[in-house]
Structures are given as C-alpha cells and as structure tokens.
C-alpha cells in the first residue's frame, strides 16, 4: 500500500489481490505455438486451421518426436494448400471484379451514349443503337448516320428546315434520288469546310451504303472539334423575343451559308442575260431590303413599347420588365401548353447534357478502341491498296465546286502577300533615302523661313494619319457577334426614359447600346469612305473607256 503500484517487480512479487494466475514472465509460450507463427492477417483462418490442425494432431498417432514431425509436415501441406486456395480465390475475386468493371463500363457506355443522344436536338436525335452498330461498321447504320450528320450540320449552319430535310423522309431503296446525293454532298463539303482531314470519308460512296464507322469517327470529331452540343444547345434555346443580332466583325469572307451545293440557282441555259434584267433584279433586291429595314424599325419600336409598359413587373436588379414571350403569355394564357412543352424539352436536353459531361471520358475511351481497330485494319489493307489518293481535291470538286477555287485563292493571296512585303521593304528603304536627301536639301532653305512652323504642321498631319492607321490595325477590344438580348434600363428610377442596355447570353459581359451604336457608326463611316473610293475608281475607269469610244456621249446616271 505504501509502495508504488507502478513498479512491476513489486506487483509481481508483491502477491497482489488481483491474483493473476497467468504467468506474464513467459511470453515465449504464445510466440512459440505454431498458431502464432503465421502473420496476423491469417489469424482467422489459422483459427480454423488451428482447429483442423488440432484435430489432425489429435488424430495422428506415434511418438512425441514422430508426432512432431508429422505435425510439421502437415502444417506445411496445409500452408501450401491454404496459399493455393487463397491465390485462387484472389484470382476469382479479381476476375469477378474485372467482370463487374466490364459490366459497369458497358453500362456507363450505354448511359453515355444515351445521354449524348438525348442531349442532341429533337430533329437530329439518333438511337443509341446506331452508334453501336456503326462501331462494327454495319452498312445499315450508314444511311442513318448520313442523315444524322446532315441534320446536325444543317442546324449548325443555320439552314432552314424544309420538308425534304426530315429524317427518314427519303426512302432507303431510292439510291438515285437527287435529294439523297445532295444531302451527302452537303455533309462532305461541310466537313471539308471545317477542316476534317480523313480521306476515307470523302471516298465513301455517294449512295450512302457503307462506311458507318467512318461516319462515327466524323461524328465524334465534330463533337469535340466543333463543340457540337454546346452550339446546338445555344441555337435551340427557347426564344424570349427580345433578341437582336449584332455583328461588329470586320470579316467579309463568304461563309458556307451562301454556298451550299443544294441551293445552286438554276439559271437559264443561255449564256447571256440581258443586263436590264439584272438591273431589274438588283432593284427588287434594294426594295426588299428597304422593306426589311422598315419592318425592323417597327419591331424595335414595338419592343421598346413593350419594355416600357411592362417595366416594374419584376423585382430583379438587372431585368425589370417582361420579354416578348412573357407578355404574349400574359395576353394569351391558353398558349402556355406549347411554351411549357418547349421548356420541358429544353430542360431535358440540358439535363442530358450535364449527364453526358460526367460520362464523357467513357465515350472517348470507347472511341479510342474504335480508332485502334481501324488502325489495325488499315495496316492490313494498306498493303492491298497501292493507289495513294492524291486525287482528293478533284474528288471534292464534285461535291463542293468552290473548293479548289478557295485553295487557289488562298495560295494566290499568300504569294501576293509575300511579294507585297518585299516590295514594301524596298519602297520604304528607297523612300527613306530620297526623303533624307530632300530634307537635307530643304533644310538650309527652310532655316530661313520658319522651319519650325512647317515642321509642326507636318508633324500634326503625320500624327493624324498614324492615328487612323493604328485604329484600323488595332485589334478590337471585343467583337460582338450573334444574338444579344435587349434589356431596357432606366438610369434613375425617377426618369421616364432609360437607355437601352444589351445583356449577352453569357452572364459575363453586358454592353451598353450606346457603345454598340458608336462602334457600328464608326464602321459605317469607314465603309462609306471605302464606297466613295471605289466609286471614284469606277468613274475614272469609265471615263477612260468613254474616251476611247468615238462619237458617243456618255450621260452619267
């Protein structure tokens, strides 16, 4: 009692009231037993084996030594047996797991494919099976795939959906149908336009009977390269009616919307057209443009009225009034069903898109396997196909007639640019030398007559010119292009009229209408200057021609 309890010796020797019969002094006993020679992890089994072992032990006869020997041998066998069993169970477990993973992957893949298909717009929605069939290059799937690609590309390029474009409208067996070939031609030229480089696609037969795997590749390429889903979702949003299209780009390259092969005009077979007829058509175009202008102004006026009359209907900071769709709904509540349907369809697409985003990696892994397969097969049949398809471009001209024209133009442009650059360098050097001489010559003269004043004038003019140039060449801060939503904001709540602001679809940038107007006005002024310049040139050319004509008086319009 008086001694310290913590002292082990004291506890041991002290004959305490705990009365432990166990002898802690022999730890070796536990360690020595065969059961404990195995690592801890197998103690459970060893428990079982231990029982067996003890049973075996109990069953084996013989002397002490002999019994020990047998025991050892049996222990070893048991250990091997155990190890073998464990190994086998591990392997089964692994296979089981792999199998499960495979099944899971298959499920994930079908989920991904399903999400992908649901995220596509209703008119261009394939069955998930089509993808699977295409992977195995089934010919039946190729026609479906052509149609799918056609529908998708048409939507991207903003084409109007006509009756003849409906999926499934064209009979499968009517291979010589003109519409059929036009669709395939359109797909090929559109893919070429976007830069799809695989020659095998362009060699696919024009009747759409084969090549579904190639088409699957093209489809996946489009998915990735063109941000297909995002574009389509943005395009197919339910409209608020407040949108206006803005474009401050300086791009004046023709885009594919004007050059689709299926809309080639059927001009008369005579080569010559009366110029008066062309003037007639030009005049009609001008009048139609004027009508459009008037209509557009009316729309702006009415939109402004709607915004003005419904302001205060919302508590939102940014948006205080109704949009056209909402106002229409207020006026004609029985139309809510259609709007509801559209919204539901859009929501479903968006949810499918989110799902797709999560499952996307599975899809791409699967596509990699498809690519691998194709590469293997390609290696096998490349030896057979000795014709190197260098003739890709001529093949393409059949489906996109402006293709070689465009590449020719590009080549010419680059060549021109190079020569222009050289010429500019030479000219600059030449001019510089000449100016230096001139300046030196004039300097003495001008010293006498107030050189500083003229120098200042010259400097100002040069600065102005430089400013013009820099403004022309400077990259624009932002280029607006696309649909923007108009929002009417009042500067102070008390004032009657606000100034309209533009809120873009992305929550990031909001641009004020006055800025856009300013930009557009500057662009208009520069275009006007260009027009004047071109007109002057035409006038000079006409004058030159007129002088060459005898006995003719030219009356300008």
């Amino acid at each position: 009692m008086a001694g310290s309890v913590l002292c082990p010796r004291a506890a041991r020797t002290g004959g305490t009231s705990s009365g432990t019969s166990r002898d802690p002094g022999h730890p070796g006993r536990q360690a020595g037993s065969p059961q404990c020679s195995l690592p801890a992890g197998r103690r459970r089994r060893s428990g079982r084996d231990g029982r067996k072992g003890s049973a075996g032990r109990a069953g084996s006869g013989g002397g002490m030594r002999g019994r020990q020997r047998v025991q050892h041998q049996e222990h070893r066998e048991h250990r091997e047996y155990r190890e073998h069993r464990e190994y086998r169970e591990h392997r089964e477990h692994r296979e089981h797991r792999e199998h499960r993973e495979h099944r899971e992957r298959g499920r994930a893949l079908s989920a991904a494919a399903g999400a992908l298909c649901r995220a596509l717009p209703p008119r261009a929605r394939p069955a998930p099976d089509t993808l699977r069939r295409a992977r195995f290059d089934r010919p039946q799937a190729s026609l479906d795939f052509w149609r799918l690609l056609y529908a998708l590309l048409k939507q991207i390029h903003g084409g109007k959906w006509t009756e003849s474009d409906a999926i499934g409208n064209l009979p499968l067996w009517d291979r010589r149908n003109k519409g059929h070939n036009n669709q395939i031609g359109f797909v090929k030229s559109a893919l070429w336009y976007h830069g799809y480089d695989r020659p095998e696609l362009y060699q696919l037969p024009a009747d759409g009977s084969a090549g579904s795997r190639e088409l699957l590749l093209a489809f996946s390429w489009m998915l990735h390269r063109l941000d297909l889903l995002e574009q389509l979702l943005a395009r197919n949003r339910v409209r608020t009616g407040d949108e206006t299209s803005v474009c401050t780009c300086e791009d004046d390259l023709p885009n594919i919307q004007k050059g689709t092969p299926e809309t080639t005009p059927e001009c008369g077979l005579e080569d010559r057209v009366d110029v008066r007829y062309l003037q007639w058509l030009n005049g009609r175009l001008r009048f139609q443009w004027q009508s459009l202008h008037a209509q557009h102004q009316e729309q702006c006026k009415l939109l402004h009225k709607i915004h003005l009359f419904t302001s205060g209907s919302r508590v939102d900071q940014v948006l205080g009034h109704f949009s056209v769709t909402e106002t229409d709904l207020v006026r004609q509540p029985e139309n809510y069903k259609q709007l509801l349907q559209l919204l539901e369809s859009e929501t479903m697409q968006l949810e499918a898109f989110l799902e797709w985003k999560q499952l996307e990696p599975v899809y791409w892994q699967w596509m990699e396997t498809v690519l691998d397969n194709m590469a293997e097969e390609g290696n096998m049949c490349k030896s057979q196909d000795t014709h190197v398809e260098k003739r890709r471009l001529p093949k393409l001209t059949s489906c996109c007639p402006w293709a070689d024209n465009l590449t020719g133009q590009i080549d010419r442009l680059s060549r021109d640019l190079m020569t222009l650059q050289d010429q500019l360098h030479k000219l600059v050097a030449h001019r510089k030398a000449a100016w230096c001489e001139k300046v030196k010559a004039r300097e003495e003269e001008l010293q006498k007559e107030g050189f500083s004043a003229t120098a200042r004038k010259i400097q100002e003019r040069v600065e102005l010119k430089l400013l013009d140039l820099t403004r022309l060449c400077a990259p624009k801060k932002y280029k607006m292009h696309g649909l923007y939503r108009l929002v009417l904001r009042s500067e102070h709540p008390a004032s009657k009229m606000g100034f309209g602001q533009c809120v873009s679809k992305e929550p990031v940038s909001a641009v004020s209408a006055t800025e856009v107007i300013r930009e557009l006005r500057m662009r208009e002024a520069s275009l006007q200057r260009e027009l004047e310049q071109l007109r002057e040139e035409c006038r000079h050319r006409l004058d030159a021609i007129a002088e060459g004509l005898d006995g003719v008086i030219c009356i300008s319009p």
């Binding site: 008066r276 007639w280 005049g283 009609r284 009048f287 004027q290 008037a294 102004q297 009316e298």
Partner: protein, 453 residues
C-alpha cells in the same frame, strides 16, 4: 404600316382632300359584300394606313399640307372638319402669305430652301407618329408654279432625310391646251428632278380624266371637283388594302413596297399609268352588273391599245404574233399603236375575285423581251368591294402609256427652249440653261428607253 401623304400646292391639296374623303366613305360603307371579319380587318388596315386616332375618336389623316397661299389650305381643312367622319391635324400644314406665281424656279430655288426646315419638321412629326413608316405619297401638279417647283424640292428633301423609305409621286399631267404658257418648261424640269429622287411616278392626265367625266360619268358641267373625285376613286382602288400576291388571309402591310417591287425596280423605268374599270355614274350603279371575263377583256385591250377608258377602245390592235420579237427588235417590228409593257399589276376587288382567270395578262407577247411574265405580271385581290362597285379592276402599268404625252411635252419645251423664250424667268432665280439641258437629256434618255422596248 402607314403612309404619309404630302399634299403640295393647290392641285395637290384638293386632290388629297378628295382621296381621304373617298377612303373614309369606303370604309364606313355597308357595301362590303364580304364577311364581317373580312370587313373589319379591311377597315383596320385602311385606318392604320392612312389615319391615326385622336382622343375624340375621329380619325385624323396622316398628311402634311403645303402651299404658298393660305386660301386653299384653309378651305381644305374646314371641309374635312365639317364632314365629321375625319379631319386633318390642325398643326400639320404649312403656308405662306403669297403664292409663287406659277414660277417653277421661284418655288424650287427660293421658297424651297427657305422653308425647308419647317416643312421637313412637319413631315418628321408625322413620320414619327407611325409605328411603321411605309413610305411617302406626294400629290402635286406638274405644270403649276408652287406645286411643281416646291414639290420637286420637297421630294428631294424627303429622299435626303429618309434614304431608306419608299417615295411615290402622284403627278397630274396638265391639259394639252393649258393656260400656263411655260407649263412645258415646268413639266420638263419637274419630271427630271422627280426622276432622280423618287421611286415611282404615278401619272394622271387631265385630258383623260376630263374625257372620262364627260363620256362615262355623263357630267355636263365638269368642275375640278368632279375630276378630282374620279382621280380619288382611281387612287383609292390602288391603295386600299389588298391581300398579298402569295395569298394569305391578312392584308398586306407593305403596300408601297410591294408596288415598287412589282413595277419599278429598274431605275430607268419609273413612269406608271393607271386604268380603272368600270367607271359609271353613281346613280347608275344599282342598275348595272358586270362580269369578270368582260371586265378583264376590256382591261386587257385598254392596256394593249393604250386606251384611256373602256369606251372607244381600238379592238383592232393585237399583240404581235410569237416569234417575231427578238432581243434586238425595234419598235417598228411590232404593230403600230401596240403598247408594250414592262410590268403590270392588276388589282381586283369585289365578288368572286378568286375565280378570275388572268391568263390573258400573262401572254409573253405583251411584255418586253427581257422580262418574263412571271416576273412582270402580278395580281392582288380582295373580296371586299370598293366604293359601292360590286366588281372593280384596276391596272397599274409600267408601259409605253406615257410615251406619247412625254414625247410631245418634251418636244414642245425644246422648241420653246431653242428660241430661248421665257428663260429669263428661270435664270432670274438661279435655274440656268445648263439645268435645262440636264433635264432635257434625262427625259430624252427616258423616252429612248421606253421606245426601244
């Protein structure tokens, strides 16, 4: 969409007044002969086009009245207000204390620039009142002083201020034996200036209307009012709402634009003639019936033979047989007196319009070689009858209708100019001989274009 009417000078104001009267009485009448819904949308379309509603509910005409003298304008305003059915806006008029004495140059070079701002201010206000500006319709006479000179100037200002709008000039061709000596000078100058600024010139000839009044309407003492009423009826038959050419149940919302697009896209051919059938005295209306085939046949022959009304048509004139017109054919190959058209527009109003067969107008031999009938011919229809006529058809034609009158006016003016008669009246105010020469060349160009169709 709305049309702003600009009434210029005495002639313009009087005719304008009659036009609005005619339109108003048409939409208030119960002779529509069509369903109530149709009638309602017709009325709404017409009201939106020409009138706006005041608080009192009386329709106010979308018009600007311009004259140098106050007399005609005040008369016009008061007559309109007295009718009770419609009125003019009391602020939308501009006049001065004294006239311009039939002097074109005075109107164009002096009064025009001086009063440009006030006049354009009025026009701007009317234009802003429209939800959608469908264009301008100016009414003027060609040979008078104020109307013509000031009118030419105002049209130019309209074009400068509204470069994207449609401008239709309604021009009254003076009597051949008119009272104003310099009317040919005035006509030449007006026409050439209008040709530059406006999109189309719709012409009514005083002589023709006079004959219609005398022979068809059986009016003994023909006053200006009668002439103006006939003109107003013909204009109304063109401008009242119609269904667009492609069909569709709504009335066209772009009358001027559609008109321009079908008839005058080519910049050299802007002269439009107007024929209307039938024209009978009002008291004979209840006793007369018409058939569409008969009306169409008469109208077609009026076009071909250049007849001005449905009496006295020369039925001998036939279109040339097919195959005789080559792209380089001259007018000598075609039978004399045959009127070649560039484009025609037929407007049908009344009962059973949809069953009318207009195939005879689509004969390619009627038209010039470089335009096919499907481009050159258009038809507008509405089942709603106009102005108590159970069936009526109008023809607006861009053809050689006005070739002869134009040629004669230019010829007479040139003769006077060659002897320099009365030129000082113009040079006094800044119109030089150069300007005269320019005008002559412009009109010679027009004449030659129309001759070689």
């Amino acid at each position: 969409m709305s049309i702003v009417t600009v009434q210029l000078g005495q002639c313009g104001n009087q005719i304008g007044h009659e036009v609005f009267c005619c339109l108003c009485s048409d939409i208030r009448g119960t002779h529509g002969l069509c369903s109530k819904k149709e009638n309602q949308s017709y009325q709404d379309a017409c009201k939106e086009r020409f009138f706006w509603e005041e608080e009192s509910g009386v329709p106010v005409a979308r018009a600007v009245l311009v004259d140098m003298e106050p007399k005609v304008i005040s008369q016009t305003l008061s007559m309109a207000a007295r009718s009770g059915c419609w009125k003019y806006n009391n602020q939308s008029h501009f006049c001065q204390k004294q006239g311009s004495g039939n002097n074109w140059a005075n109107g164009y070079s002096v009064h025009g620039p001086r009063h440009k701002e006030s006049i354009m201010d009025l026009v701007q206000r009317e234009a802003e009142r429209c939800d959608r500006l469908g264009g301008f319709f100016t009414i003027m006479s060609m040979a008078g002083g104020t109307g013509s000179g000031l009118g030419a100037f105002v049209t130019q200002c309209l074009r400068d201020a509204f470069p994207a709008s449609f401008i239709l000039n309604h021009v009254i061709w003076p009597y051949g034996t008119g009272e104003v000596i310099v009317q040919n000078y005035n006509s030449v100058l007006t026409l050439s200036h209008l040709y530059r600024s406006s999109d189309a010139l719709l012409v009514h000839e005083n002589d023709v209307i006079h004959k219609i009044c005398a022979q068809l309407m059986n009016i003994k003492q023909i006053s200006f009012r009668d002439v103006n009423q006939v003109i107003a009826h013909q204009l109304g038959s063109v401008f009242q709402p119609v269904h667009p050419a492609e069909g569709g149940s709504n009335y066209s919302r772009n009358p001027l634009g559609d008109l321009m697009e079908t008839l005058v896209p080519h910049p050299e051919f802007k002269m439009l003639g107007l024929r209307n059938i039938p024209q009978i005295p009002e008291n004979s209306l209840p006793y007369s019936t018409f058939s569409w085939p008969g009306l169409i046949k008469h109208l077609r022959q009026m076009l071909i033979a250049n007849a001005q009304m449905e009496e006295g048509i020369d039925w001998q004139v036939r279109p040339p047989p097919p195959g005789s017109s080559t792209p380089s054919s001259h007018s000598t190959k075609k039978p004399l007196h045959f009127n070649t058209s560039i484009a025609n527009l037929v407007i049908l109003r009344g009962k059973d319009v949809h069953s009318v067969d207009l195939g005879s107008f689509q004969d390619p031999s009627l038209y010039t070689s470089w335009l096919k009938p499907q481009d050159a011919f258009n038809a507008w229809r509405t089942p709603r009858a106009f102005n108590k006529y159970e069936k009526s058809a109008s023809l607006v034609s861009n053809s050689q209708f006005l070739l002869k009158p134009l040629d004669s006016v230019v010829g007479k003016a040139w003769n006077m100019f060659a002897s320099k008669a009365y030129i000082h009246q113009y040079t006094k105010f800044g119109i030089e001989e150069e300007d005269f020469l320019d005008s002559f060349t412009t009109l010679e160009q027009v004449i030659s274009s129309y001759t070689t169709l």
